[in-house]
């Protein structure tokens, strides 16, 4: 039942004055945006104009054709075939692969170290907790660049020259040139190793499903991981054995002043990796500690009240909740690590940034090189962020 007053049927009167665009939020918004776009366009025009003038003065032109020219410089370490006669393009690809290698290894080890230190920080043992705190406070407050150089000096200086290299089992040599390992050659049929690994993962997944069903029916718990992890680790060897061991090694041999064959891990990479891992681990440790502490004490208390052991409580109650808090900042730590790998340029490890910098030095194509580098780094960032977002959404709490 409504109550309409018969007086109020006439159209409402206009408020005084004209309705200028200044007071209509929609119009005001549109005008502001047009102004912004015009200013931006004018700015861009000026920049492009200046750039063209300057490029002309330097006898340069804008174009990506230089990527097919011969590079004329060497890279001390590359995962793909590369020599000074390879193209600029190939140099950049080699650099990119090195960046991915360092970032992946770095993320892997930093996560492990970070989690260990983070949990140590929460220990009841004063020495353990104190050591973790000392580590974090020491390494967090020194610039990464300095740490890289310090590790480099620490790693490189004491190493002997090539002729006096430390050797292990006559196949691994450690010297000023780096860590030299036998280069594995995979013969025909070696792909069976990968197949066996894939089969092991698939088998583990099916085994886990079966174990869950069994637990639902009978209440019995099967030690899935105890059985699966050894199988996963051994499976590639099984595959190789099935193929008749098509694996030979090129052993490094001392020929003259240097080693031939073999696979080198240059000291620059070792220093960079160690520094990245130790530095990033401090931030990961703090993230992990914050995540675990954020889970209210009430959760552990409730678990204890139910009689759940501390191990199960951690696994089933605390850590799943802590992961939700930990994953977003962890993702940004991974991004930071990936970006920090670009410091390789400072110690001469040929990563993407180093390759780009050298290409620019040789060719003078600053804008093109910057563009390529930006696109690649942004893609790496986006990929990592997307993966972490997917991982995060799988862990989300369902709320009302």
């Amino acid at each position: 039942m409504t109550n309409l007053d018969p007086r109020a049927t006439s159209a409402p009167p206009q408020a005084g004055g004209s309705t200028s665009w200044l007071y209509d939020p929609k119009l005001r918004g549109i005008v502001s945006q047009i102004v912004v776009v015009v200013l931006l366009a004018w700015g861009l025009y000026e920049v492009i104009d200046n750039t063209q003038d300057n490029l002309k003065k330097l006898n340069q032109n804008f174009g990506f054709g230089f990527l097919t020219q011969a590079a004329g410089f060497d890279l001390s370490s590359s995962l793909v075939e590369y020599s000074s006669s390879s193209t600029y393009g190939r140099a950049i690809v080699a650099g990119l692969l090195n960046t991915i290698l360092v970032a992946t290894l770095g993320i892997f080890f930093a996560t492990i170290l970070g989690f260990v230190v983070g949990v140590m920080r929460l220990s009841k043992n004063k020495v353990v907790a104190g050591a973790a705190t000392l580590y974090i406070e020491l390494l967090r407050n020194v610039p990464l660049l300095l740490q890289i150089f310090m590790w480099y000096a620490l790693v490189l200086k004491p190493l002997p020259g090539v002729k006096e290299a430390y050797s292990f089992f006559d196949s691994i040599f450690i010297s000023k040139k780096g860590i030299l390992m036998p280069h594995p050659n995979f013969g025909p049929g070696a792909w069976l190793a990968l197949l066996a690994l894939a089969a092991a993962f698939l088998g583990t997944w099916m085994f886990r499903k079966h174990a869950r069903k069994r637990q639902e029916k009978t209440g019995q718990i099967t030690p899935v991981w105890l059985i699966s992890i050894p199988i996963i680790l051994l499976s590639p060897f099984l595959g190789l054995a099935l193929a008749g061991w098509p694996l030979t090694f090129d052993y490094p041999e001392l020929k003259g002043f240097n080693f031939a064959n073999g696979m080198t891990m240059v000291p620059e990479m070792v220093a960079l990796l160690i520094a990245l891992v130790f530095y990033s681990a401090t931030f990961i440790a703090e993230t992990v500690r914050g995540g675990i502490q954020a889970i209210s004490h009430g959760q552990s208390e409730a678990s204890s009240a139910l009689g759940i052991s501390r191990g199960y409580a951690l696994r089933l109650v605390v850590i799943p909740q802590a992961m939700r808090v930990i994953i977003p900042p962890l993702a940004s730590q991974y991004l930071n690590l990936t970006k920090n790998s670009s410091l390789a340029i400072a110690i001469g490890f040929p990563d993407l940034m180093y390759a780009g910098g050298t290409v620019n030095n040789q060719s003078g194509k600053a804008i093109e090189v910057v563009f390529i580098l930006m696109v690649v780094y942004l893609s790496l960032s986006l990929l990592t962020a997307a993966f972490m977002n997917w991982f995060n959404s799988r862990m989300k709490l369902v709320e009302r």
């Binding site: 200046n50 490029l55 043992n125 660049l145 804008i367 910057v370």
Partner: protein, 373 residues
């Protein structure tokens, strides 16, 4: 059922009894609550003792304390080469600034320290004026005084500035530029106008997705191409622009977090009482948001201070680079010079950053107890 016992007199408050556990039990609880952690603690303790002894031995016991040149430092078994630091430390602070003009950086340092003290120590009043001075007047004053060329001051080009001077200038410029820019970017990111929102979000995401080294590389190699003819700002200025833009993007995210923490009710109350958008931001939202993000701002500053070492990659002589360049000095080049230099650098950076992080924690604690709802 009758009650067993009801007091008729007040029970006095008694002091707590001494601990019932013995000394041994208490020690065990602290240092080895579980056998595994006890073993770990022992291993760690041994390692730490070894590490501390080695460093102490190198830095103090075996160190060379005074020598005219590298001879003593090059001797077998020598420790840290402190005379190297002694001869170079002024250069580490001022870079290549002419010695007789060093009073100018000194004034800059003194003013900066006073202003910063006024801003950071909570009890000191007139923070608004101080902030205006620090963020606007001080940078201009610094630039004019250090560069010279006016008022009868001898001109000292930016190429001659170096060392701690550059490190501090770069860090402070980064913060000074990034707070106002960051506020604008953060507001723009939440704007309802799609063009503004797109531009701000795009800028923030792109800058945060690339390494600082790349931004500096861009500043050193690409920005000169954008300049109109005859305009040559010099590497330092371009690097400062790069650092400012980079830092603004990160600051924008910190401020966005602060804005999100302001409850919607504050916006509504401001609107209900008739405040316009900018008045609302200036008088109600921003003061609250900025207080929340002060720890974040200080953390950004700590990161920035460490990141300024990267300008050495493009050839600017900040503290890191200038120490490194000293390693090649023929008078001092020796086996221990490099180690001593890096050790000294680590101490200096650590001291600054640790102090700043302590301050940040102090402020965070203060803010948490101050504004309880």
């Amino acid at each position: 059922m009758t009650l067993a016992y009801v007091r008729t007199t007040e029970a006095p408050q008694l002091p707590a009894p001494a601990s019932t556990a013995g000394l041994w039990a208490r020690l065990r609880d602290r240092f080895a609550p579980t056998p595994l952690s006890g073993v770990a603690a022992a291993v760690i303790a041994i390692f730490l003792a070894w590490a501390v002894w080695t460093i102490f031995d190198w830095a103090v016991l075996r160190a060379v304390w005074s020598a005219p040149d590298r001879e003593a430092c090059n001797a077998v078994g020598a420790g840290a080469c402190w005379p190297f630091v002694g001869s170079k430390w002024l250069q580490w602070i001022y870079g290549f600034y002419p010695i007789e003009q060093r009073w100018r950086p000194n004034i800059v340092f003194l003013l900066g320290a006073l202003s910063l003290a006024g801003l950071l120590i909570p009890k000191i009043p007139y923070k608004g004026w101080n902030a205006l001075f620090f963020f606007i007047a001080y940078p201009i004053f610094t630039y004019v005084l250090l560069l010279g060329g006016f008022f009868g001051l001898e001109q000292v080009d930016t190429e001659q500035w170096g060392g701690l001077l550059i490190t501090l200038i770069a860090s402070i410029t980064g913060i000074v530029a990034s707070v106002p820019l960051g506020i604008l970017l953060a507001l723009g990111r939440k704007s309802e106008m799609p063009v503004v929102r797109l531009l701000c979000t795009g800028f923030i995401e792109i800058v945060r997705g690339v390494p600082l080294v790349l931004v500096l590389f861009m500043a050193a190699n690409m920005f000169p191409l954008f300049m109109p003819p005859g305009v040559n700002p010099g590497k330092l200025l371009l690097a400062l622009i790069g650092i400012g833009l980079f830092s603004a993007a990160y600051m924008a995210e910190v401020i966005r977090g602060g804005l999100q923490a302001i409850p919607k009710g504050q916006y509504e109350a401001s609107m209900a009482v008739g405040l316009s958008y900018w008045r609302m931001m200036l008088l109600v939202v921003m003061p609250q948001a900025l207080k929340i993000v002060i720890p974040g701002i200080v953390n950004n500053f700590i990161s920035l201070f460490k990141d300024t070492s990267l300008v050495s990659v493009i050839g600017i002589f900040d503290l890191f680079n200038i120490v490194q360049s000293g390693f090649n000095d023929a008078t001092w080049a020796s086996a221990q010079t490099g180690n001593t230099g890096y050790f000294a650098l680590a101490l200096i950076y650590w001291a600054f950053c640790f102090a700043m992080s302590r301050y940040s924690q102090y402020i965070e604690r203060r803010l948490n107890t101050g504004h309880k709802r």
